[in-house]
Every structure is written in structure tokens, then in C-alpha cells.
């Protein structure tokens, strides 16, 4: 059974998690959260957050979602193989027909995440609302999760980080990846930086929402259109689905 944190919070646990939330106080009012127990406590077990991406609506020359993610979380890709990439654009060309399309790929937030299974310390974990995260306080940098991820969705921080955002802590020697903008969700914003940026371009290739709510936009779209999940042979039940690939 996959480990979940955050369900059935009692008063004492809530107070403890409040202390954990304020992981590192940098200065008055500025706090670095480590994506640990504190963040886990914010999860609503009745929700499963998910993304639906329509490849037909994703133009090959658009990278708005990537820039938005980079700005939101403070990671930077300068083209080096050691640079992190929380989200990337993939170009697909059908070997038989030659048909091409592009799509963004990030952590697929599996229901049964292999990264969580293999992590020796439990730093890789899944919140009760389905978001897969790395607790930077107990990640030892073994990179086994990177070996296990079927989507190459995680990056290892190879050097000292610059321009760190307080809402999205990063650290040299630890592993990181898409966290579904958990800080925004926990503030009740109900969306992610990449989806907001995609909507702003007018492409509307990404829909974000609660997969457990039958009336949510994402659930209605999934009901009405044939979607696929990547590597469905692995039966991981992904939180990210695709249309038109």
C-alpha cells in the first residue's frame, strides 16, 4: 500500500504539523517550508488533484508553462545536463505516419508512485490529495527515485541554488520535481502556475482540478473525451492525463 501523509489529522497532530510547517524561519514573516509534514497536513483526503493536457492545443513554439514554472519555483535551465527541469516540452513524431505534436511533461503524480516505493527514508511521499512531493528535510540525495521514475520527472540539484523562492524550497544535494504548486493550492488558489500561464496565452491546453469531483471541469472533460495516461502498462493510475496523442 502506498504511504500517504495527512489523512485523519487530530488536534495534537495539527499543532505539531503547524510547528513543522514553520521549518526554517529566515526572518520575521519569511519562512522556508521543506515540503514535509507541515505541507502534508494541508491535504484534503477527499480531493485528488489532477491535470488534463490537450496535445492538439499545445503549439510547438509555446513554452509559457515552462517559463511560468521556472519563475514560480526558482529553477533555471541553462541547457546543461545538470540543470533541473521540473517541466519540459516533448516533441513526438509518429514513426509510421510522421504526424508531429508537442506536449508538456512533468511529474505525473501517480496514485502508486515508484519514487515513493523506492525512497529509503520516506522523503518521497504522496499527500492525501494525490500530490507527490519530496520532503527536503529528509532527502539524503541517493537519487534512487530518479532511477525509478518512468517519466524522468525528477531532477537532482547539482550545485548551490540561487534565487530561491520561499514558497518552493530547493537545496543542493537533494532531489526535486513538480509539486503541483502545492503552496498555491494550500492557499486556496485552486490552480497551478503552468495552467494559469497556458490559459493566459489563450491556448487553454491544460485543465486543472479535482478528479474526485464529478462536476469539476477536468472530470467532465475526462468523461466526454478519450484520454490516455502515459505508460499505462505500469498501472500507476496517474494524476496527469493527455488528450490527442
Amino acid at each position: 500500500m502506498t504511504k500517504e501523509k495527512g489523512a485523519n489529522i487530530h488536534r495534537r497532530d495539527f499543532l505539531k504539523s503547524g510547528a513543522a510547517l514553520a521549518s526554517v524561519t529566515l526572518a520575521s514573516g519569511v519562512t522556508l517550508m521543506a515540503m514535509g509534514q507541515g505541507v502534508a497536513a494541508g491535504a484534503n483526503p477527499n480531493v485528488r488533484w489532477g491535470l488534463l493536457i490537450d496535445a492538439n492545443k499545445c503549439p510547438s513554439d509555446c513554452s509559457a508553462c515552462i517559463s511560468a514554472c521556472s519563475n514560480e519555483h526558482g529553477w533555471e535551465d541553462n541547457g546543461l545536463p545538470t540543470d533541473p527541469q521540473w517541466i519540459r516540452k516533448i516533441t513526438l513524431k509518429d514513426k509510421n505516419t510522421g504526424h508531429e505534436n508537442t506536449l508538456p511533461l512533468m511529474c505525473q503524480h501517480c496514485e502508486k508512485p515508484p519514487c515513493v516505493d523506492v525512497c529509503p527514508t520516506g522523503a518521497s511521499f504522496k499527500r492525501a490529495d494525490g500530490i507527490v512531493l519530496v520532503d527536503r528535510h529528509i532527502c539524503i540525495g541517493c537519487r534512487y527515485c530518479m532511477m525509478a521514475c518512468p517519466f524522468k520527472a525528477r531532477s537532482f540539484v547539482h550545485e548551490k541554488v540561487k534565487g530561491q523562492k520561499t514558497s518552493s524550497p530547493r537545496g543542493k544535494g537533494t532531489v526535486e520535481g513538480c509539486n503541483m504548486c502545492v503552496h498555491k493550492l494550500d492557499k486556496g488558489e485552486g490552480t497551478t502556475a503552468c495552467v494559469t500561464a497556458c490559459s493566459a496565452t489563450g491556448n487553454n491546453a491544460m485543465i486543472f482540478g479535482d478528479l474526485n469531483d464529478p462536476s469539476s471541469d477536468i472530470s467532465l472533460a475526462l468523461t466526454n473525451y478519450p484520454s490516455v495516461e502515459l505508460r499505462d502498462d505500469l498501472r500507476l493510475n496517474l494524476g496527469v492525463r493527455y488528450l490527442n496523442i
Binding site: T82, I90, P114, I140, G141, M147, T174, L230
Partner: protein, 401 residues
């Protein structure tokens, strides 16, 4: 036939010089760790595609060899071959030393070495890595007890056998765990194979016995001790058998993959089109690491030519490192197949063979682990009565080999 006597190694300039060289390697590795720790893994050859590099090759070689080095002890006390018993103490000591060397490299390559304590207090019991932490520490404790039972006076033979059986079963579990680190990686084309566990056990038999023979021959030569020719030759022939078993598992691994269409791309990469990896596989692993030592170890004049045994064992060790390089690095170099049926490209090396050039820092760290294992072995032999002084052919009951 005399009773076998054991003694500590005597202090000689040669011994201290060797130890000083080994300590030098360990020191260089320690400085390397501090350097990597300070700058981050950016200074190594590893990247976000090849996340496990040369240090893992050395670490896993040493860990696999550690469990195999215990063979000689197991053959003596579990399978009752009396003739192996005089060399059993070294076998146990070497097993512990190799494991310590391997573990040192493994943990010192972590992104956060300073958080090692977390790996000891926080366990995710679904993680094969977490199991291995328990298997490795358990191995050290069990083999230490086993070594004590081998050395102490008045230990009942039943107790010795019980310790031997426990250690033998534990080492099988340990190598199963190490092989399963790769075998259970379902996402990657080069892994995801149950055969990894038994293949790693076969590899451990082979690499461990080769390391044992090199240390045994080297130490006996350096300290002018006898290593009964008949015993040495039988152990060398056993090594030959293990080399053949590794070749067999390698063949089955690749034949099984060739039969399954989804693995054809990976097999084509390793066997035909992988460039350096294809050369390493055929020339390094199969030819120089398998066929050549196999031929040498079944040479009719093996008993009179000690050099052949040394050469064969060296080739087995080097071939083993190459085999692990192919498994670990080539397994990551081959791209993940996230979109079967499509040509894929991206800014994150999707759809292309991933590049990796190991840095000297990684090599120094890996060699530091080997040096640490050898230094522990020598120090162990210096302070404990590990090696026999009169292991001549006359004192070995050849009917019990």
C-alpha cells in the same frame, strides 16, 4: 600432518609501505568527498540523466564481492569441506572489509552525506534500499560473530555450523537485495528483470572468490607463507566454474530480452550499436572478463603456474567492474521509452542516448573504497590470527577438498 597454526602478520617495511599507500588512497578519496560536498555533484561527470555513476560501479562491485568472499568460509563450515577451513578466517575478514569499503563509497556519494543519520533512523520499509541498509549492517554483525566462532577456542562445532549457515543464508538475501535494486526498476528497459537477483548471486561468487584469491596469494607471497598448491588449484578451478555460471546468466539475460519485442531496442544498443558500451560488453565483460579467465582457470598446468591464477583472478575482477559499468551506466544511457511508437525529442535528452564521462573525482572515490577494504583486511591480519603459517600441501587433507 601438522595441526594448522595461525599468526598475526609481522611488522615489515613492506607491510607498512603497502598500508601507507592504501591510506594515501583513502585520504585522497576523503578529500574528494569534501570537494564534491562543497561544490555539489556538478564537479562530477554525473548529471540528471546518468544519476548513478562510477562510484556506484565500485560500491556495488565491492558489496557484491563482499558476500562472495564469504564463500570459502561457507564451503568449510556449511558444506563440511575441511580443507577450506584454514582459509576461512581470511574469507570472513575480507567479506566484512569489502562490505565496509563498498558502503563507504555508496554513502559518500550521497547528495547529502551529512544526513546519513537520517538513513539510519527513518525507514520506508517498502524500499529495497532500506532493506539493504538492514541487510548490510546485519551482515557485518553476523560475519563478525562467525569470525569469532572460527577463531575462539572451545566453540562447539554445532555453534560454528549454526553461525555459518546463518551467514550463508544472510549473504544470499543480501545479494538478492542488491540485484533487486536494479531488477525491480520496472520503468527502465535495461532493468526490470527478475534474473538480476540470481545473476548478482552468481557474480558475487565469482568476484568475491577472485578478490579472495588475489588477497590470499598476495599476502602469502609478501609474507613468505605457504598456500597449499592443491588447495589453491581447487579454489581456482571453483572460480572457473563461477565464471562460467556468470557467463550463463549473462547469456540467459540477453536471450530472454531478445525474445521480447519491447526489449529489442535495448538489446540492439548493448549488443550491437552502443559504441563504448558494446565494446565494453563484448571485449571487457565477455572476452577478457569471462572467456579468457575461464580458459586460464582450466589450464592443465594451473597447479605449477601461480601467475595464471593471479592473471585470471585479476581479469575476473576487472571484468566484474566492466560488467557493473555496463549494467549501471548503459542501463541509464539508454533512453526511457515513455512514448512507444514515437520518435521523441526534448530539452531534457528524451529519445537520445545519454552521455556520461566519469570524472577523476569519481575514480578516486571508487579506488578509495577498494583501498579502504584492503587496508581493513591488512590491519585485521596484523592484529588478529587470521592467516595460517603452515598451510603446506602436507597439511591439507586433499580428500576433503
Amino acid at each position: 600432518m601438522e595441526r594448522i597454526k595461525y599468526s598475526e602478520l609481522r611488522s615489515t617495511p613492506k607491510l607498512w609501505s603497502l598500508l601507507a599507500i592504501l591510506v594515501g588512497f583513502v585520504g585522497a578519496a576523503a578529500l574528494t568527498v569534501l570537494y564534491i560536498e562543497h561544490h555539489g555533484h556538478i564537479v562530477t561527470g554525473m548529471n540528471n540523466q546518468i544519476v548513478w555513476g562510477l562510484p556506484h560501479v565500485f560500491a556495488i562491485f565491492l558489496i557484491v564481492a563482499a558476500s562472495g568472499a564469504l564463500n570459502v568460509s561457507s564451503i568449510g563450515s556449511v558444506f563440511g569441506k575441511q580443507a577450506y577451513k584454514p582459509t576461512a578466517r581470511l574469507s570472513s575478514l575480507l567479506a566484512m572489509a569489502l562490505l565496509m569499503g563498498g558502503l563507504a563509497v555508496l554513502v559518500l556519494d550521497l547528495g547529502r552525506v551529512d544526513r546519513l543519520i537520517i538513513a539510519m533512523v527513518k525507514y520506508n520499509f517498502k524500499s529495497i534500499f532500506a532493506w539493504n541498509i538492514l541487510l548490510y549492517t546485519g551482515f557485518l554483525v553476523i560475519v563478525a560473530i562467525y569470525l569469532y566462532a572460527q577463531m575462539a577456542r572451545g566453540v562447539h562445532s554445532f555453534a560454528l555450523k549454526a553461525a555459518g549457515i546463518t551467514a550463508f543464508l544472510w549473504r544470499l538475501a543480501l545479494t538478492t537485495g542488491t540485484g533487486s535494486i536494479f531488477g525491480w526498476l520496472v520503468a527502465r528497459q535495461g532493468y526490470d528483470a527478475a534474473i538480476m537477483a540470481p545473476m548478482f548471486i552468481a557474480m558475487s561468487f565469482s568476484f568475491g572468490l577472485a578478490m579472495f584469491m588475489l588477497v590470499m596469494i598476495g599476502t602469502c607471497t609478501m609474507t613468505n607463507r605457504r598456500y597449499a598448491v592443491e588447495l589453491r588449484t581447487r579454489q581456482a578451478r571453483l572460480l572457473g566454474l563461477f565464471v562460467a555460471v556468470v557467463l550463463y546468466f549473462t547469456a540467459v539475460q540477453h536471450l530472454s530480452n531478445l525474445y521480447v519485442a519491447e526489449h529489442n531496442g535495448f538489446e540492439r544498443f548493448i549488443l550491437l550499436e552502443g559504441g563504448i558500451y558494446t565494446w565494453l560488453f563484448w571485449l571487457g565483460q565477455v572476452f577478457f572478463g569471462g572467456i579468457v579467465p575461464l580458459t586460464l582457470l582450466f589450464h592443465p598446468k594451473l597447479d605449477v603456474k601461480k601467475g595464471l591464477v593471479v592473471l585470471a583472478a585479476l581479469l575476473v575482477v576487472l571484468g566484474g567492474l566492466v560488467q557493473l559499468y555496463v549494467i549501471i551506466i548503459a542501463g541509464q544511457a539508454y533512453p526511457l521509452e515513455i512514448f512507444p511508437g514515437y520518435d521523441v525529442s526534448s530539452s531534457f535528452s528524451d529519445g537520445v542516448i545519454n552521455q556520461y564521462s566519469p570524472s577523476y573525482l569519481e575514480l578516486i572515490l571508487g579506488l578509495g573504497g577498494v583501498a579502504l577494504a584492503l587496508a581493513i583486511t591488512i590491519i585485521g591480519m596484523k592484529i588478529l590470527r587470521i592467516l595460517p603459517v603452515n598451510l603446506s600441501d602436507d597439511n591439507v587433507d586433499i580428500t576433503q577438498v
